[in-house]
């Protein structure tokens, strides 16, 4: 596998590990953590990662609003999946461009206004339409904290940033049933353990009808479509705003799931808009 050369400074060197018990007996100094490898990095030892994984899984499934805990679960359980995704990205020129540019997705880096002006059947327009229909914004993604290597941390961040694109391209709203369906899709496509865990335990939060619909209609689609389509981590979505959606789906090998029932909008985007307006002292239009 041909690797592009990267500056060695980017590779995190695993510095002295943080011992768990026994240090206090011998030293007067408090525990030292290695310095962070990137902004937002919180180095943890294996015990802390395990504790966080279990804790965030338990509380995350109990309280579905804790997106930060699902993020923590993802960071701590990623393991060998991230290097594998890096290899996938490196094997493709598009993936290599992503790793070189390291683009982020939020309302400062993506021109939402321009996207809304694009023709109707383009991917960019579909994305903005999906955001409005669901009432969400791309700004509420939790940053990566617990992955030690900066490049792998970026790949994890990229996965999280692109989650909304997977929603768009598969035309799925954000309620729990469809999120779980999308997790099945992501697990089949990307192989991340957190997607598998969410897929396994997510259905516990659904009632019987929802579970039945999930299992009979969406899971077969998700697994089949996810496993046969192109590995989506290597897709440079920002280069494809003006591409026709159907062409894009054909290129990626994705077909539509059974039609979804769209719930009412979440308040995320409206709240973000209100907060911005209040911060600037403007009048708030509800």
């Amino acid at each position: 596998m041909l690797r592009t050369s990267r500056p060695l400074a980017l590779a995190a060197t695993r510095q002295r590990p943080i011992p768990i018990i026994g240090r206090g007996i011998f030293s007067k100094e408090p525990p030292q953590r290695p310095p962070p490898a990137y902004p937002g990095h919180i180095p943890l030892n294996w015990f802390e990662k395990a504790f966080l994984a279990v804790g965030s899984a338990v509380v995350g499934i109990a309280n579905l609003r804790r997106g930060d805990l699902v993020a923590a679960l993802g960071d701590t359980t990623a393991g060998p999946a991230l290097p594998r995704l890096r290899d996938v990205m490196l094997s493709d020129p598009e993936g290599r461009r992503i790793l070189r540019d390291r683009p982020r997705i939020n309302s400062s880096t993506v021109d939402m206004v321009w996207l809304a002006t694009l023709p109707d059947n383009t991917f960019g327009r579909a994305y903005v339409r999906w955001l409005e229909r669901c009432g969400v914004t791309p700004d509420t993604r939790e940053p990566v904290h617990y992955v030690d290597d900066p490049e792998l941390a970026y790949i994890m961040q990229r996965y999280r940033d692109c989650h909304d694109f997977y929603h768009t391209i598969c035309s799925l709203p954000v309620s729990v049933t469809y999120e779980v369906a999308l997790k099945f899709f992501e697990f089949a496509n990307l192989g991340l353990p957190v997607a598998g865990l969410s897929a396994m335990f997510g259905p516990l939060r659904l009632n019987a009808t929802q579970q039945k619909r999930l299992v009979t209609e969406y899971v077969p689609w998700a697994l089949r479509c996810g496993s046969t389509s192109k590995n989506l981590i290597g897709v440079y979505w920002e280069e494809r705003w003006e591409m026709d959606v159907d062409e894009l789906k054909k290129e990626l090998g994705i077909w539509d799931p059974p039609p979804a029932i769209w719930p009412k909008k979440l308040t995320e985007a409206a709240r973000a808009k209100k907060a911005d307006a209040m911060a600037e002292g403007r009048d708030v239009e509800v």
Binding site: P30, G40, I42, P43, N45, P103, N106, D111
Partner: protein, 302 residues
């Protein structure tokens, strides 16, 4: 296809929250070189004195809603035992009704225990407690707790926003109180001597100063376990339960920075209080609870 992007987003990382919070995530250095007079410690960071109050206020505004849950999770419920023991040791109401002030007492834990103890043991319904806290959010949580009890809207309890380092002379006149308590609050204050001096001022002669605070564990094995637990588990519990690692990292570090029991007892004496002998235990200046994880310091104004 050309990407249309407003700003080049190469290698930008959008930090969540303020850089202040991020700076707090990762400090791992032990206490730095001695401060000059304008700075003090905030956990392991050195900050200008004026800033510490605002930083501590941020911490407590952020933890206020989940304060009780976090205390239970971090101490596995043991903090209740400590507070019970603290109030039993003080035995309020044993010499008749008293006027108490509970500083940094926003959550209402100690004040409620004082009133309950006086009522249950001595049928005392005249003892009064003034609950104070510098943080209005914490005080509101305390008010909410008291609303569930029989003491709310009675003369037995009143709530004041107050800075323990500079108590308002009208609300807290000299020689006015019989008992001054401060539980798990004094380590958050910028200047401990100021708090002690104000406590001395507002207490009547013969009044008692009592402080429940985290201490140093001398036993090496226990110290090691305790330290690992503090620095590993507690910030993670903060992340998991309260979505706030930074505040709990601060709390754990502030415990480490607090003077040892002996040093603190000396500070109490320096403020003018009479304490027991310079040792631990019955007749001493302080009592260790759970091998020194927490300790009760008492002093009397002569």
């Amino acid at each position: 296809m050309h990407a249309r992007i407003i700003r080049s987003a190469t290698r930008t990382q959008f930090l969540r929250g303020s850089s202040l919070i991020h700076a707090r995530y990762n400090h791992s250095a032990p206490p730095p070189a001695p401060n000059n007079n304008d700075t003090t410690h905030f956990g392991y960071r050195t900050v200008p004195k004026e800033e510490k109050e605002a930083l501590v206020k941020d911490v407590f505004s952020s933890v206020a809603k989940s304060y009780d849950l976090m205390n239970d999770a971090m101490s596995l419920g043991v903090h209740r035992l400590w507070k019970n023991q603290f109030v039993s040791l003080l035995d309020p109401g044993s010499n008749g009704p008293i006027k108490c002030v509970d500083a940094a007492g926003g959550s209402g834990d100690i004040s409620l225990r004082i009133l309950d103890h006086a009522r249950e043991k001595y049928a005392d319904r005249e003892t009064q407690v003034t609950v104070t806290d510098i943080n209005p959010n914490m005080l509101n949580e305390g008010r909410r707790r008291f609303k569930k009890t029989m003491y709310y809207n009675t003369p037995q309890v009143n709530f004041q926003v107050a800075d323990a380092q500079a108590l308002d002379k009208e609300v807290f006149p000299d020689n006015a109180f019989d008992l001054y308590t401060i539980a798990f609050g004094i380590r958050n204050c910028t200047s401990i001597p100021d708090v002690l001096n104000e406590a001395y001022r507002v207490l009547k002669p013969g009044g008692t100063f009592a402080c429940l605070e985290f201490g140093k564990v001398e036993n090496p094995l226990m110290a090691s376990v305790y330290e690992s637990y503090s620095f590993s588990i507690i910030p993670l519990l903060g992340t998991i339960l309260a979505s706030d690692r930074a505040s709990y990292q601060y709390l754990v570090e502030s415990i480490q920075r607090f003077p040892t029991q002996g040093d603190f007892a000396q500070m109490i004496r320096d403020a003018g209080f009479q304490t027991g002998e310079d040792r631990e235990g019955e007749g001493g200046s302080w009592r260790d609870l759970w091998m020194g994880i927490a300790s009760v310091h008492t002093g009397v104004k002569i």
